[in-house]
């Protein structure tokens, strides 16, 4: 039987509590991984490994957290903001994330805010459907 969204959220919460050493109640749906939960780059890899194990899925690293690859491409970024092409690329790579607010001011420094707990739950939900 398929897992409900609440069940997925509960397990994602458990993964983040273990990976980042935070408390259950800090891991809300809206919490951002970097700003709110203090994740650093190596933690993203740790989270990917743990999600794979928890849900029995395979996650290519750039699929869940694709921002790094974008950062190194000058066609996609200009003056610290994503270009139109960059935005299109980001949308393409992060179908599981709501980009509406970010589009208004696609400052790369705010890109970290896109990685929310909710985005991970969406991602896992889609993966489990495949």
């Amino acid at each position: 039987m398929a897992m409900s969204r609440d069940e997925i959220f509960g397990q994602v919460q458990e993964v983040l509590v273990d990976a980042l050493g935070v408390d259950d109640d800090e891991v809300t749906a809206e919490a951002t991984l970097m700003q709110d939960l203090g994740a650093e780059s190596i933690d993203f890899l740790d989270i990917v490994f743990r999600l794979e194990k928890m849900f029995g899925i395979k996650i290519p690293r750039e699929e869940l957290f694709p921002a790094e690859n974008l950062m190194n491409n000058s066609e996609l970024i200009s003056n610290g903001k994503l270009t139109e092409k960059g935005l299109a690329e980001l949308k393409n790579r992060m179908p599981h994330t709501d980009l509406a607010a970010f589009e208004k001011d696609p400052d790369i420094n705010k890109m970290g805010d896109l990685f929310t707990v909710n985005a991970i739950v969406n991602f896992v939900e889609n993966k489990l459907k495949e």
């Binding site: 273990d18 990976a19 780059s41 190596i42 933690d43 890899l45 740790d46 490994f49 794979e52 194990k53 690293r61 790094e68 190194n72």
Partner: protein, 155 residues
């Protein structure tokens, strides 16, 4: 010179699991100060021993082509003291390994006593810090480290 903190491997199953030995002796000067009159091995140095055991296991899995750096101590729980004269058995297992990184789980025992459980994460730094250049030469796995494996005929 690099600092070797394990004495030898007694089991080595490439890409999967390794067991190393560390003999603790009162000749290690830091034990005299930690603590005067009550010598116990510092827990940080148990983590170092596990990092070397697991790090070599991870490095060997990619034929020492990667620069393997300890990136995160995922868990370190200590259950008992280690005193001079003790022989530690360090068992490390690879939980996952990809192009960029690896995670390991590990257990330290002394005879029948469980001393510690230490889970680590290693980064293959050339693959992670994009844009940063590191020396061509593998400064992590020097001959000194590899000599630990030569004793077991692992090259």
């Amino acid at each position: 010179m690099r600092w070797i903190w394990i004495d030898k491997f007694i089991e080595f199953d490439s890409g999967k699991r390794a067991v190393a030995i560390k003999n603790v002796t009162l000749a290690e000067e830091h034990l005299h100060d930690h603590f005067p009159g009550f010598c116990v091995m510092p827990e940080t140095l148990m983590i170092e021993a596990m990092a070397q055991t697991a790090g070599i296991l991870v490095g060997e899995a990619r034929k020492f082509q990667e620069k393997v750096i300890l990136a995160k101590i995922k868990k370190a729980a200590f259950f008992d003291y280690v005193r001079p004269g003790d022989t530690l058995k360090l068992e490390a297992k690879i939980e996952s390994i990809t192009a960029e990184a690896a995670t390991t789980s590990g257990k330290i025992t002394c005879q029948e006593r469980t001393i510690a459980e230490i889970d680590l994460m290693f980064s293959h730094i050339d693959k992670n810090l994009a844009g940063k250049d590191f020396p061509e030469e593998n400064f992590v796995f020097t001959d000194m480290f590899k000599s630990l494996l030569r004793g077991m005929n692992i090259r």
